[in-house]
Symmetry: C2
Subunit: 242 residues, 2 copies
């Protein structure tokens, strides 16, 4: 940590905020790279993603430590306190996004050389485009302290969930059509789930930004369209019963 | 929040600690219930799990709020500060365990009436027994401020990961043998993954307890045996190639 001789509270706040934005950029790149690795089946990129995740974990710890020290030293209240707590929470969500990207990277390495169903991989790509956009927007909302923008992101997670549910069905159908696809499709299923969860974390961040700026919490339940936990696909032409 | 007229720092610390232990108990029950619902295919229990998760989320927010207020008011240092930061972090892990149990509950509801491969469900049960034991032990370690016990838990996650990887293989093989099993096995796969991740959170909590008590961090990487992200299963008798 740099040695501040004389430093104002504002400088410390800005410093924490800058670290969060920086960490957001790292997380974005990791997500983008993990998806590129998956689409291009690029093992080198996948390995890079797996190794770079540790850097994000490190920044999270730094943000948390710094924030706790500032709370203790400055005893902030109201919007200043919300600002610092928001930094801790957002860093937590970004760290989890990094973990999910790392897991996608590992799976890319696992399915090296296996059959690659282009159509389904495109489905994952399409979904991850949306997630990356959400992530970018919510980090902009954070940097600009813009609660409207945060609200927009919060309302849009729906689209990702719908896409995931449809991809889930498609992957299952694909496995049923040809059992040789099962192993690779299972990994794609987990990749898709990971990407959908990144979207959930972007939505979490939107809620945090909204609270940070306005002091108001968004309603408990937003429109939720991920029905995959409740989705089954019947084996074609058969009733699946125990 | 109750109105303390005169209160000592110790009372506040104990109060936060008690809330964490309480929350741990709630999380344990939710995990146990979600697994019971899965094994007995009990929709009523599954629905209860899905609805009770909100209570855990609420306690997490309370612990975080209270902790931040105490940091600001008391400016704790050294072991007192570690104690409070630990409460925030553990509450965070417990909240995620609750989410995972809820997701298992949702999947139990989804696969209602479908074929129920007893052998595989027993595999999930066996794994969840271990996870519940880990969770219980780590909460005891927290309550007793016992770093040795935390270290034991930390070293044992291995067994859960190994079990998960073998279950992953078994589920994939099962799907390949009979594509009618694909839908239900996919949900079981996600249930198993959820339970394995609960184990990861128990390990996280062990790290937090260790740090809280000793002020030392455990090494970055513990022996990790979950190889499922790197595992594929070849279709019997065929080479799976793109």
């Amino acid at each position: 940590m740099p040695d501040h001789t004389v430093t104002s509270f504002d400088v410390e706040l800005k410093d924490i905020g800058r670290k969060v934005v920086e960490m957001g950029g790292q997380a974005e790149r990791l997500v983008a790279d993990s998806v590129t690795a998956l689409i291009k089946r690029d093992i080198a990129i996948a390995q890079k993603v797996v190794s770079l995740d540790a850097g994000i974990d490190q920044v999270q710890r730094e943000i948390e430590e710094k924030s706790v020290l500032v709370i203790a030293k400055r005893q902030p209240v109201a919007s200043d306190l919300r600002e610092i707590v928001a930094a801790i929470r957002i860093a937590n969500d970004l760290e989890r996004i990094g973990d999910l990207a790392k897991n996608v990277g590992k799976r890319v390495i696992a399915i090296e050389g296996e059959y690659h169903p282009q159509k389904l991989v495109r489905g994952v790509e399409h979904m991850s485009d949306l997630v990356l956009e959400q992530l970018k927007e919510v980090l902009d909302a954070y940097a600009a302290r813009n609660e409207r923008k945060a609200l927009d992101v919060w309302g849009r997670d729906d689209a990702i969930d719908t896409m995931y549910t449809s991809l889930f069905r498609e992957l299952l159908t694909y496995m049923m059509e040809d059992p040789r696809n099962i192993s690779v499709c299972t990994h794609l299923l987990f990749c898709a789930k990971n990407i959908e969860r990144m979207g959930d974390h972007a939505t979490n961040i939107a809620e945090i930004v909204y609270y940070m700026v306005t002091g108001q919490t968004l309603p408990e339940s937003r429109p939720k369209a991920d029905a995959s936990s409740d989705t089954t696909v019947a084996f074609p032409g058969k009733t699946v019963q125990g």
